[in-house]
Symmetry: C2
Subunit: 349 residues, 2 copies
Amino acid sequence: MGKHNTRLKDIADKLGISIPTVSRALNDKPDIGIETKRKVMELAEEMHYQRNEFAINFKNQQSFIIGVIIPQIVHHFFSNIINGIITEAEKFGYSVMIFQSNESYHSELKGTKTFRKSMIDGLIISLADTTDDYSHLSSLQEHKIPVVLIDKVTDRLEASKIVCNDYQGAYDATSHLIEVGKRRIAHLTGSLTPLTTRERYRGYCDALKNNDLKLDNELIRYCDLVSGEEGYQEMKTLISLSNPPDAIFCATDPTAIGAINAVKDSGLKVPEDIAVIGFSNWSMSSVIDPPLSSVIQPDVEMGEQAVRLIIEEIENIRNDKPVVFKTHVMKTALILRQSTLGKKEGVNV
Amino acid sequence: MGKHNTRLKDIADKLGISIPTVSRALNDKPDIGIETKRKVMELAEEMHYQRNEFAINFKNQQSFIIGVIIPQIVHHFFSNIINGIITEAEKFGYSVMIFQSNESYHSELKGTKTFRKSMIDGLIISLADTTDDYSHLSSLQEHKIPVVLIDKVTDRLEASKIVCNDYQGAYDATSHLIEVGKRRIAHLTGSLTPLTTRERYRGYCDALKNNDLKLDNELIRYCDLVSGEEGYQEMKTLISLSNPPDAIFCATDPTAIGAINAVKDSGLKVPEDIAVIGFSNWSMSSVIDPPLSSVIQPDVEMGEQAVRLIIEEIENIRNDKPVVFKTHVMKTALILRQSTLGKKEGVNV
DNA sequence: GTGAAAGCGCTAACAT
DNA sequence: ATGTTAGCGCTTTCAC
């Protein structure tokens, strides 16, 4: 065995022909003798020829790599998005590179730098909560690397966006609580910086309003939305009110689970005394007691759609076609379980 | 603005100097005039020069990309491994490319092909359950692309490996059930093809043996280990035995949760009637009722360690140093909660 | 139908 | 201290 991988030159030399001829034979180009082609193919096979993609990428200045920056890969929602991204990208011959921001702007910035080094063809990003400056993204765009925002988006960057209808999901969740007879409905929300949280908050408010229930600021609690601990604490506080709620819409499932535990620990029943509904349908939500009603986000589909958009932009840029930014709003759905329905069997609406 | 990104030539031309001089200035090489260097740096900044990494990669035949193939990114265990991999890789200036096998050998094979195209410098892989042939991996090795196996490993490939002590974890879990007074301990296992499952099975058997309890084949049930449904069904079957178990060690947490639900639905109590312990400490396990005791695997650390090994091999190969394969066995730990302890506070042992 | 030459952007070796 | 030359592996002109 030689020291290096087989190159076109090795094949050409052995056959006594020129390198371009070998290249033509191997790449199904016209203007190649049928017999020459056969011989080249045969020898290439025999010598285990493998195209050197470094050379190809260099020549084409193209990597077929899509960079992805998400806050946390271990979150069910994001790992499903990534699942969709990887699966769809592969169909188009693209590979996916992943970077975590851990919700830190600083880290996100570092990710874009790393990716620029890796010469990604495009970036799909879900913004960190702390990100408030978007020049690292517009800079990529200026260098003809398209950016698609997913879920955690911003109005302050012109780019294609994939979001789900957080407003409608929250509206539906709250309306559902009203439909099962609840009237004093609390809301557990988080920092209102991310658009998603704001939209859920807005959906909650509008559902109350349209059902002639008035907003009670006492019933709106803020936390980080991440840990069940906080949901537990805030629910305890709500229960201790002189006029406690009879239901709560939590902006995330983990906090909703914390809330359920708080209700149970207070000797109250879910949903009879206090109904609970979450958001995102985490995998754990169906196995807790009682199973948690939640809002399903089309995570995998969001990832797939993001890939289609980014590849479209990548190819438009390559072909000097105009790029038009699109925003896809994907539908949410309620998944109803016993935390709002009681003993009845859960139903997917 | 010009059509293309700034190249060394653009800077050289503007300054009336040669390309290598610009290169030297920018790369902190010796033999460069202090004044020339200053001018180059300044102009480079001004023209937003960015090294073209395609050219660098081409020249060095190196990508600084580590490929990762795992069965399912959405599994808590694997997404934590990936978390560790990405974090550690970044420290060394490597990026990470991810591919999912979905437990399919065919898909795994495809992944290795895709990765070869992407010119990865090394591969970290957790084998699909169905993988029984390893030529796709040895082929990579022959092409000087090192392979590190993680968690789902095989004896039939010579490579570095990262595993956790599944045997000891299972042994400890079973011993714990014995310590809390249980004597008829069932085991829910899966296909015995993967080494991990076999090791857990072996740990269970040895713990019984060393405590003078005899193995009862009636108490050993097989399922896919993936869904709670199966755990539920198998537990129901066990409960209906004329001599049912008083505890069960499940090889995964989801099935353990299914088992808990089956016990509860049968009007029995966990852990008083039947204690339950799982494996892997899924995020949901702490929030179910009762919280599930489980075996913690050092997932993040496993990922980090895998990166260190692969980079070591990559660099040894580049420097023509001999490569020695290492196997790291990482420690598991018990996390004890109410599903085995009862009302007492959970303790991390 | 095939070969010769050029070039993608950069760096290392060799000259001066 | 700086310039010249060559080359990484491949494809794409352009000749013949």
